[in-house]
């Protein structure tokens, strides 16, 4: 029983990071109907940037906000400069641009920071808490708390701010939004910035667990896509919830299905994506009508 509880806790903690990245994927998708293949690589850039700042002697309290702001700026710049030229052409051109970003950012990170993996101490320290026989590391508690705060903040942003409302308006009916003086292009840039920041946080929370390497977010990105597929790409809330589910599912599968140990846990998100798209492509929380052609 303790064993199962422990796995559940580990799964929840891991799932929170997937939830963060899935939220980022979903924020971009609901605005544009676009899957950003490069969302994971943007998070890698954030993690390496934070690592460089830490190496230069910055305390985490200063480095993290700067990196998150930088990720937001990177997201907006990528959207305005590299995605914008193909906006409104075809979904294939859009998705190919994000594939190019994935390829390019992955290469750039390796060129700038090298391919050797680095370990990175958790900003929350190495202590652990015992609850009965279940162990919670400070890293787990800290990352869950941070991601939870980010989720609530994003939820509040969409619910209570004018900017969030405008973004939703553009996502639902860009033609009408324009008539109210809203510039859809700007809202898309804001969406990418928001996704960049949220994804950046997910990257920072992943690094202490899996270490820094150019490939560090490939697994989490797959998890995030599966999570978003499960929860509905157009539903930020559903996507985030899907992340938590995926975390638990994968941890449990890796522990209790003998064939799925280690790296092969990625079979789980692949299976989830495949099945969800086959059976209920709008996801568990999505609406059928979100797909734009």
């Amino acid at each position: 029983m303790t064993e199962i509880l422990q796995q559940l806790v580990n799964g929840l903690a891991g799932g929170c990071v997937y939830a963060g990245l899935a939220l980022a994927v979903s924020v971009v998708f609901q605005g544009t109907g676009l899957l950003n293949f490069a969302q994971g690589e943007m998070a890698v850039v954030a993690a390496y940037a934070a690592w460089s700042l830490a190496a230069a002697g910055w305390p985490p309290v200063a480095a993290i906000p700067v990196v998150v702001a930088g990720s937001a700026a990177l997201g907006a710049v990528l959207e305005r400069v590299l995605v914008r030229p193909v906006e409104g052409t075809s979904p294939l051109a859009l998705i190919t641009v994000t594939a190019a970003l994935l390829l390019g950012l992955n290469g750039l990170v390796a060129v700038i920071w090298g391919t050797d993996p680095h370990s990175w101490d958790s900003p929350f320290g190495a202590s652990a808490v015992r609850l009965g026989d279940v162990v919670l590391t400070a890293q787990q508690i800290g990352s869950v708390a941070v991601v939870a705060v980010v989720m609530v903040a994003v939820g509040c942003f969409f619910r209570f701010t004018g900017l969030g409302l405008r973004m939703k308006a553009v996502a639902i009916n860009p033609g009408s939004a324009v008539l109210l003086g809203i510039r859809p292009g700007r809202m898309l840039a804001v969406g990418w910035a928001l996704a960049g920041a949220v994804g950046g946080v997910a990257g920072l929370m992943t690094a202490p667990t899996v270490g820094l390497s150019p490939e560090m977010m490939q697994g989490p990105l797959l998890m995030a896509f599966a999570a978003a597929a499960l929860g509905g790409f157009a539903s930020p809330f559903g996507s985030a919830l899907g992340g938590v589910v995926l975390g638990v599912l994968t941890t449990m599968a890796a522990r209790y299905v003998p064939a799925l140990g280690g790296d092969l846990a990625l079979v789980v998100p692949f299976g989830v994506i495949f099945l969800v798209l086959l059976v209920k492509p709008s996801g568990l929380f999505g609406r059928a009508a979100v797909v734009r052609s």
Partner: protein, 324 residues
């Protein structure tokens, strides 16, 4: 008429090349012909049916491994192994195509990207079958008795004939009725359904065929290289193939050849320039840049650019290009 003449020249040149070049150069152009196959499968898939694949490298690798395992562990003769690889590729494609047509053509991209990330992991996991990180060495293909050709020349001609056959088949398929159905599928999926095209079946079939073509390329490529290793089929290779397809021209069979030249020679060029250690990563950056520039300034690729120049000169074909 001119187009047929051009293809005739290409065919003659393709057959003549191994008699002019030495065996190493012949080996290199055999890499090009075998790489052109998965790129042609992307032309069919993306350019004609409007679905993007970010995992064609994995299907290519699946073909390569199937072929290698069938020869080395199964003791099959290589032509049978190649056919088997195609069948496996077809089956994998059909399976991947099942959930297609959702999320406006993006769902296949999502599934194939996941496959591209997962595939190398599967290879290192099933060591007993795949040889783990060291892969499998395949024996050289010998020239049949009675033919006066070196092994490299013979194998190249085999790949060339395979490529020519695939080009001819796909080009025929994309004309006429099926071509129109594919156009409908790509441009107006919802409309296509109402006009009686069985869009779901068609799109699944197209993904299956593109899987078979990619696997054929992978199998022949494994014979040319005489080895298969997991590193060769990393997810970045899938994206390199996509880059090749877009650069060459996403709706152009000739473009698939151009793209293959690009994918085969650019990494070598980069490695000669920046040294081996970071060559792969600089190549990626280069691919990304060229891919973006192509999408912005020549969305029909180099082949499209070429035909645009010839139309400017000829002016006659202008209408044909825009005809539905």
């Amino acid at each position: 008429m001119r187009k047929w003449l051009l293809w005739g020249v290409v065919a003659v040149a393709g057959i003549a090349l191994p008699y002019i070049l030495d065996d190493y150069q012949t080996f290199q152009i055999a890499r090009v012909t075998t790489t052109a196959l998965p790129i042609a499968s992307l032309v069919l898939l993306t350019g004609w049916s409007g679905q993007v694949s970010a995992g064609q490298g994995a299907l290519f690798g699946l073909g390569a491994y199937t072929c290698a395992i069938a020869i080395v562990s199964g003791g099959l003769p290589w032509p049978v192994a190649v056919l088997l690889a195609m069948v496996v590729g077809l089956a994998a494609g059909l399976l991947l195509g099942l959930p297609a047509l959702r999320l406006s053509g993006m769902s296949l991209g999502l599934i194939t990207l996941s496959l591209a990330v997962l595939f190398p992991l599967l290879l290192s996991r099933f060591k007993d079958l795949t040889g783990g990180p060291f892969g499998i060495q395949t024996p050289p293909v010998r020239t049949p008795a009675g033919i006066q050709l070196s092994s490299a020349q013979f194998l190249y001609l085999v790949t060339f004939v395979a490529l020519a056959a695939v080009f001819a088949l796909l080009a025929l398929l994309c004309r006429g009725r099926t071509g129109r159905a594919l156009d409908a599928l790509r441009l107006q999926p919802a409309m296509a359904r109402t006009t009686g095209v069985d869009t779901r079946r068609l799109s699944v079939l197209v993904v299956g065929m593109s899987g078979a073509v990619a696997a054929l390329g992978g199998a022949l490529n494994a014979l040319v290289l005489q080895s298969v290793v997991p590193d060769a089929y990393a997810f970045t290779f899938s994206l390199a193939l996509l880059t090749g397809a877009v650069i060459g021209g996403i709706r152009s069979w000739a473009g698939a050849l151009v793209g293959a030249v690009f994918v085969v020679y650019v990494p070598q060029l980069v490695s000669d320039t920046v040294g081996d250690t970071l060559a792969g990563h600089w190549t990626q950056v280069g691919y990304a840049l060229v891919l973006l520039l192509t999408l912005y300034f020549a969305p029909q690729g180099l082949a499209g650019l070429g035909s645009r120049i010839t139309t400017k000169i000829g002016e006659r074909r202008a209408h044909q290009n825009f005809a539905p």
